[in-house]
């Protein structure tokens, strides 16, 4: 079976969807609780942090245009240490990334839309769809993202335009009330949810793109698109709901859609808006699962990666039921562990790899 290569356009849309992914639902509340009415400024600083991290990833991709992340680890750290570090990275990422987001979907649906349905049923349905999507492989995922992308753009634009009548600029004042430190702290939270997991995209983009030398453009444009969407959503939550309601509610962007009311006629369309998040969360999760299993199969030397998808998806769905014992655990996890974890795997790991690459180059130059 020949390896399928995605086009630059597909890579751009994949990156954009991956960026929007879970952030659109989870980020506004945490950001507003740290930075209050300056959350939108914090988001802009977070985008800067994120682009720093993404350019480190891209530098790594430029050095090794034919290898993916696991193969880069193996070349630079030696076969066994590279394999061990790669395995550790994949297992921890599997626990922190797709599994927790899957429970987040279950929480969201049971809290906001179907309070009488048990969370296991929703996790099972979503997990099964994501596993099937990941099982069909990168080609199917990339093409279906292309198909769904206009809908997400349309729903997002509709939501933004319909909310403009509710915007009150006074809600953002006073600007810089709490000084600079909360801004940086909130920006780090933003970047850790939205941008640092982009390290996982290194499984796709230099090696599985048909023109790897141009991949950086697609990744930059996709990330830019995703971050524009997120900054607009965060700014809207502050402008429409105000900082305190945003910080107190679990899913402020859903409340945002509930606020839409045009002439007491066009209202309660939040379910339509929820479709947008389901689409973006579906693709983020399916891509996570695909990339993690692809990495695992490379480490174990298995050519047929499709076969591993169903058991891996099953593990993901089962773990998702009890990965967070309760919401309080989730909040302390997001605040205290997730940020350092993503800093290590999303920023320090690629920097370490770049450093090793530099040392290797120096030594080969000396011996030559």
């Amino acid at each position: 079976m020949p390896e399928y290569k995605i086009s630059l356009r597909q890579l751009m849309i994949v990156t954009a969807m991956f960026t929007v992914g879970s952030g659109i639902l989870l980020v506004p509340s945490g950001l507003a609780s740290i930075a209050k009415q300056d959350a939108w400024i914090a988001a802009l600083i977070g985008v800067l942090f994120g682009f720093g991290a993404v350019s480190v990833h891209l530098l790594l991709a430029k050095m090794y245009p034919t290898k993916n992340l696991m193969q880069i680890c193996e070349t630079l750290m030696g076969k066994w240490i590279g394999k061990a570090i790669g395995l550790l990275f994949l297992v921890t990422f599997f626990l922190c990334g797709p599994t927790t987001v899957l429970q987040e979907i279950g929480n969201f649906v049971t809290i906001q839309m179907m309070p009488e349905t048990p969370i296991e049923a929703i996790i099972l349905l979503f997990g099964a769809i994501m596993t099937l999507g990941a099982r069909l492989g990168l080609e199917v995922l990339a093409r279906s993202i292309e198909l769904m992308f206009p809908w997400v753009v349309f729903l997002f634009t509709a939501m933004t335009l319909l909310l403009l009548s509710e915007v009150k600029l006074e809600r953002t004042f006073p600007v810089f009330e709490f000084g600079a430190l909360p801004l940086f702290s909130a920006a780090l939270t933003f970047a850790s949810v939205v941008f640092f997991p982009h390290i996982m995209l290194l499984m796709i983009y230099p090696a599985s793109v048909n023109r790897p030398e141009q991949a950086y453009k697609a990744v930059y444009i996709g990330s830019l698109f995703g971050s524009v969407v997120l900054v607009i959503v965060i700014a809207l939550t502050i402008l429409v709901l105000g900082p305190s309601i945003t910080a107190q509610s679990m899913y402020p962007s859903y409340m945002l859609a509930q606020k839409i009311s045009i002439g007491n006629f066009l209202q309660r369309i939040e379910a339509v808006m929820a479709i947008m998040w389901f689409i973006s969360l579906f693709f983020r999760l399916a891509l996570y699962l695909y990339m993690i299993v692809a990495g695992l199969s490379i480490i174990l030397g298995i050519k047929n990666r499709q076969a591993l998808m169903l058991p891996a998806g099953w593990i993901m769905s089962t773990l998702a039921v009890f990965i967070y014992p309760n919401v309080a655990y989730r909040q302390s996890w997001d605040a205290k562990v997730w940020v350092p974890y993503t800093l290590v795997v999303g920023v320090f790991l690629p920097m370490l790899l770049l450093g090793l690459h530099g040392i290797r180059k120096l030594r080969s130059r000396k011996s030559a």
Partner: protein, 78 residues
């Protein structure tokens, strides 16, 4: 009991979908990887049925990252 039987039935279904093709193509490493993952999945599911409250695996990651997390907290960044 019936729930454990259901789990085993699902495992059988998944093996029935995936295994024959792998065996026909004689992909030994794929069969190994598949069986280990499937065994893990069945194990976690059965454990979830037998014990109502399982500890979350995130605890170990939290312990591993505690020093770094404290350092960042001391800096005021998180």
């Amino acid at each position: 009991m019936i729930r454990i039987l259901l789990i085993l039935a699902v495992a059988a279904l998944i093996s029935w979908i995936e295994l024959p093709r792998m065996i026909r193509r004689k992909e030994r490493s794929a069969v190994w990887g598949f069986s280990v993952l499937l065994l893990l999945a069945v194990g976690i599911s059965v454990a979830k049925v037998l014990f109502t409250s399982l500890p979350t695996p995130l605890t170990y990651i939290a312990i591993a990252f505690r020093p770094f997390s404290r350092f960042l907290t001391a800096l005021g960044l998180i």
